[in-house]
Symmetry: C2
Amino acid sequence: MAVIECIPNISEGRRSDVLDACSSAVRSAGAQLLDVKPDATHNRAVYTFAGDAQQVTAAVLALMDTVIRNIDLRQHKGEHPRMGAVDVVPFVPIDGVTMAECVTLAGEVGAEIARRHNLPVYLYEEAARQPARRNLEDIRRGEFEGLAAKMQKPEWAPDFGPSTPHPSAGAVVIGARMPLIAYNINLATNRLDVAKRIASAVRHSSGGLRYVKAMGIALADRGIVQVSMNLTNFEKTPIARVFELVKREAARDGVAILESEIVGLIPSAALTDAAAWYLQIEGFKSEQVLENRLRME
Amino acid sequence: MAVIECIPNISEGRRSDVLDACSSAVRSAGAQLLDVKPDATHNRAVYTFAGDAQQVTAAVLALMDTVIRNIDLRQHKGEHPRMGAVDVVPFVPIDGVTMAECVTLAGEVGAEIARRHNLPVYLYEEAARQPARRNLEDIRRGEFEGLAAKMQKPEWAPDFGPSTPHPSAGAVVIGARMPLIAYNINLATNRLDVAKRIASAVRHSSGGLRYVKAMGIALADRGIVQVSMNLTNFEKTPIARVFELVKREAARDGVAILESEIVGLIPSAALTDAAAWYLQIEGFKSEQVLENRLRME
């Protein structure tokens, strides 16, 4: 059975009746709801669910219907940038499904949402059909309030739907990406400069590893510092390589690694790959993992 | 859903019609047949299947019925020690099930087999009700040919069933144990003495780690040597600790580790534990593995 993860972000983080209605919509569609994280300050909620292509499609469409009925961006205020009532919908290949299939799925779901609700849809990341739309931040710049003007420019015509925003729901960004791993490494020091230097050394934007975003922060209550990271493609930039590079850079400053932490969920393969790397396992196949065999047949 | 693995060894490794009938029996009972490994020299086959308690119980009983109809130990010759037509039946907790539940299951299945076939049953390993019966080799010593005499001794009265062997099927040993991991480490040397010394250093029987069996062997065709191991409890003697100890002992002799290999199946937890150890992940929970969450609900 194919397993696709889907992590829609919606522009509501306060009204529990609306949040509950969205959860019910996802569950009723047959997807497995794994997590709901509302944030009142951001006035935004992140839903995480999984299923096969049919289940996640049904869940996204049901969620969209529920949100359109309940959220009006003209009344919405919150700290987090947003341009849609359903703001962003990434599909993530987990098991028995390729990235190419998730890209196709993003296109199909996007077309259907545009048709149903007469709502503009942009495709991003792996599903982007133009290089300038790979990056979510570029699409969302200007937010809901600036969307009507932005959409007048030919280069910001949507991939599906009308060339004007939906009055209450704005536009939605749909795409496909690798699983994101939130990975932090705590250093046995209170020297923030060391954490910041290491973050700068390992992150892509300043010359580091291709699929690493990183910043150095202080954990003031514990008197230590942290290299806080997002790993955006664990197949191409594996977690073991990130850990070893941070460790080496820390040693340069005479600092040891205290511990690391995975925030939230991590795909099994990211950890088994790390084990295989450290244990120097040759020719390891994921079918050798007993649980994978059980899922396969 | 609980997942129990069951790995019966039967005393037939040559007649494919009998082997196929056994496979069909397991599948028809609703268990998921993962592997069948017949060995003509040993005249023995190892079946690996999985399911919940009800499915694996039904599969063992169906397998027993099929074997009783088709295998007569009075006609059986093979290299491998054996005392039963179905020789040994271990139950292994994999997911959502405790060792205690597998011990209970072994007792229930043992009692039922004794009742159905008037066949003596011994309980071994974690399911053993006497310390002298923990070790399979001790129960099996004397084999089928010596069984009638052995069973005359009061200390070898079976846990269930009659005090004489079944005429054609002997006796069966049923129990519960942790998953066994076949783990080999290849050394970048052709010095067999080094592999043998390391095996002796890490294995339980000569002073090493509690749940490690090991021997040093030559891989003549590759011109290297191997520390060939069975890890019998990866929770108490984790794979990372075994690897690091072998590596350290090899370094003592100026030898590097070339690679390691997992033979056959390994439970996911054995690898994620190793990743968490090397990456120094603090407070890691198996529920953080995305696939485990999907199985849970």
